[in-house]
């Protein structure tokens, strides 16, 4: 079974390059990636549940990580999506502990190698931490 990732731009953030490149490269890594484009937290969680996703990937460079990012986790847990939620983009270091505390499993900055994201996903999905 391929690992299934639902990838989304968070809210109004317009920068789609990163989300798209990561999506394509995770496909190269053998995962199935559903790229949603821009969505708000409710729709992202809904799509992840419908798709039976193992992972939600959130991308933001627009400064909405603490507000909308955390909201995704809250809604996901309310609706019973208990799998992995990860985030990438331009995120200040100081905010990363807050995001992790809220339930974002990992935050990947601009210079992350995609194979590292893939490795993280594999280890967490397989080990059942997700």
């Amino acid at each position: 079974m391929k690992i299934k990732v639902v990838m989304s731009k968070l809210g109004l953030d317009i920068h789609w390059r990163g989300a798209l490149v990561v999506s394509r490269m995770l496909r190269d890594e053998g995962m199935e990636v559903v790229y949603l484009g821009n969505q708000f937290p409710e729709q992202i969680v809904e799509a992840a549940i419908q798709e039976g996703a193992d992972v939600i990937g959130l991308s933001t460079l627009g400064g909405n990580h603490l507000t909308l990012g955390i909201k995704v986790v809250q809604i996901a847990r309310e609706k019973g999506f208990n799998s992995l939620i990860i985030m990438g983009g331009v995120i200040p270091e100081d905010d990363i502990p807050l995001l992790k505390e809220a339930g974002i499993a990992e935050v990947f900055g601009p210079e992350t190698k995609i194979e590292n994201i893939a490795a993280f996903i594999r280890s967490h999905v397989k080990s059942g931490i997700a």
């Binding site: 317009i14 789609w16 484009g37 821009n38 400064g63």
Partner: protein, 575 residues
């Protein structure tokens, strides 16, 4: 005598005049072969060398690499056709490039304070970036705006906000750049700006500045939840340009945004070609509406992104002027010299900023900024070193201004015009860039023109493919980035002071909106919006009707909601 002189000039001008003596070229070509065999002996490097756009780069450039050039035809003098050497005769001796640093965060009042700080420290114009809800057409109290108000730019909901933004700023003396991105945002914000000036009693001919207004920003470069169809967005783009050409003689109603295309993922060639293709499409549309090319072409301006490939970027700047002159003169038959000259703003490349060892970004931005000046830019924004972390702090923004001032005053590069002209390499590269830009414009046109390649998703695929390949090249190490994959940084963490957006902006803006909706004459708003709604379906310019609406205190979100209802939404291609 003078007459005779001029006549003889014309006679010689009519003939092809090569820059260099063709006999001498033959000798040089022969000698070059000898040199390769006897002196270089095949030691030309271990690999093939290419520019960032994929142009093969030779070991050594010599006169035979520019043997076909005709000086007057292909290069010329500054301030004269074909403007390769610069758009003004005396370039930076006449006026230094404008130090234009973007600012925008929080409420209009917050950004107004940053404007005043930058102006006090030597900025010579204002440049404002808007927050995402404003750019995407939502009021601060719209549920869609949650979490974004005042975050990546300043929040503008109504004409009152535009008034607060420019409070105490002499908009009749210094130029105002407004990074409106989308045409739908532009038509509203420009209407607010013009209405504000009228209320203040400032004659419209005194307003100088630029707004961005590029339908590629709406439909291609940035994705969003609700996107207007390319044709509708393009129509609004043309409305703003047409309105300004008739009412605002010193305003640039468009800045064709190669910059953000490049950030999304293109080569330097594609960046310039798409922007010029957009200007071609605009010109065709405005002519269809009954305008004359010389009525509007002189106010079309451009926006380039300069990466680290120093000479290619300089050649790009020169080549873009060459291609533009050709398009305007020969394709559109523009007569006014100002229609033939391309003016552009440069911002250094955000994408080249690294998060590791962020102070290195000061060096990168300085090199890119220098290239912009050697390329003859009219205004410049130098990125701040901390922009891979957040919007710049006051401290890092000041370093960006200082970088520009160092280029302006300490390097002496501004003292002579286009100093790299005549370099065998730079002239050869300029010609090659121009050729490739023309070829890519032809490719776009063979696919039905720019609006069509957006509608079909072709341009999105071009961008996505490039971005994907670039990431692969970084990960494989083929594309080297200092501190990242070349001499990777050993510093595990660099402490960077992060700029914090004022969190109170959302509640402040919401409260202002609540009061506005209470005190305004809502019947007047309704009436203005009703007229605008109807006009959306007629072949007319919407600007005057939008201006009426903003004067009645209709909000940006209300007007843009109307656009979404009347023009419908378009499915952004998920490539």
């Amino acid at each position: 005598m003078a007459n005779k002189q001029s006549q003889s000039n014309q006679e010689t001008l009519g003939k092809e005049q090569k820059l260099l003596n063709q006999e001498a070229i033959k000798t040089i070509e022969k000698e070059k072969e000898r040199w390769k065999e006897e002196t270089v002996k095949g030691k030309v490097g271990e690999k093939e060398y290419y520019s960032d756009s994929g142009i093969p780069i030779k070991l050594l450039y010599t006169p035979d690499d520019i043997k076909d050039l005709d000086y007057m035809e292909d290069i010329g003098f500054s301030g004269e056709a074909p403007y390769v050497r610069g758009v003004y005769p005396n370039m930076y001796r006449g006026r230094l490039f404008t130090v234009r640093q973007i600012a925008g965060f929080g409420t209009p009042e917050d950004t107004n304070q940053r404007f005043k700080f930058l102006l006090k420290n030597g900025a010579t114009g204002t440049s404002v970036v808007l927050d995402l809800p404003t750019i995407r057409g939502y009021d601060s109290d719209d549920p869609e705006a949650e979490g974004h108000v005042g975050a990546a730019g300043v929040s503008i909901d109504s004409i009152e906000d535009v008034e607060a933004l420019y409070e105490g700023i002499p908009i009749d003396e210094i130029s105002s750049n407004i990074v409106t991105h989308l045409p739908s945002t532009t038509v509203v914000i420009l209407a607010m700006f013009v209405a504000m000036a009228e209320k203040k009693g400032i004659p419209l001919e005194k307003l100088s500045g630029t707004n961005q207004n590029d339908f590629l920003m709406e439909t291609t470069v940035g994705s969003s939840l609700e996107v207007l169809p390319p044709k509708a967005s393009f129509r609004l783009q043309c409305d703003a340009i047409e309105f300004a050409s008739q009412n605002l003689p010193r305003w640039n109603p468009v800045s064709y945004n190669g910059y953000n295309l490049r950030e999304a993922g293109t080569t330097a060639v594609q960046e310039v070609a798409c922007a010029i293709a957009n200007a071609i499409a605009t010109s065709e549309e405005l002519i269809r509406r009954g305008n004359k090319i010389d009525d509007f072409a002189k106010r079309l301006s451009f926006f380039w992104n300069l990466y680290n490939d120093f000479f290619e970027e300089i050649a790009k700047c020169r080549a873009s002027r060459l291609v533009w002159h050709d398009v305007m003169k020969n394709r559109f038959n523009a007569k006014h010299p100002k229609s033939h000259l391309m003016r552009f703003h440069v911002q250094t490349a955000g994408l080249t900023l690294t998060k590791v060892e962020p102070l290195n970004n000061i060096a990168r931005a300085a090199i890119q900024g220098l290239a912009a000046v050697l390329g003859g830019a009219q205004s410049l924004h130098v990125d701040s070193f901390d922009e891979a972390y957040s919007a710049p702090t006051e401290e890092s923004a000041l370093i960006s201004i200082r970088t520009q001032q160092i280029i302006q005053t300490e390097t002496n590069v501004v003292n002579t015009v286009d100093p790299l002209a005549g370099s065998y390499f730079v002239e050869n590269l300029t010609q090659e860039m121009a050729k490739r830009i023309r070829d890519y414009i032809s490719e776009i046109e063979s696919r039905g023109g720019l609006v069509s390649v957006v509608e079909s998703g072709w341009l999105h695929r071009e961008i996505a493919d490039f971005a994907y390949q670039m990431q692969r090249d970084i990960e494989s190490g083929e594309l080297k980035i200092v501190g990242l994959n070349y001499f990777p940084s050993e510093q595990s963490k660099t402490k960077v002071e992060v700029f914090r957006y004022p969190e109170s902006a959302e509640s402040t803006q919401k409260e202002k909106l609540r009061k506005l909706r209470e005190k305004r004459d809502n019947d007047k708003v309704e009436k203005a919006l009703r007229v605008l709604r109807q006009k959306c379906h007629e072949d007319v310019n919407l600007m005057p009707y939008i201006k009426e609406a903003v004067l009645a205190y209709a909000t940006l979100g209300e007007i843009e909601e109307l656009f979404r209802e009347e023009f419908g939404l378009w499915q952004f291609p998920l490539v």
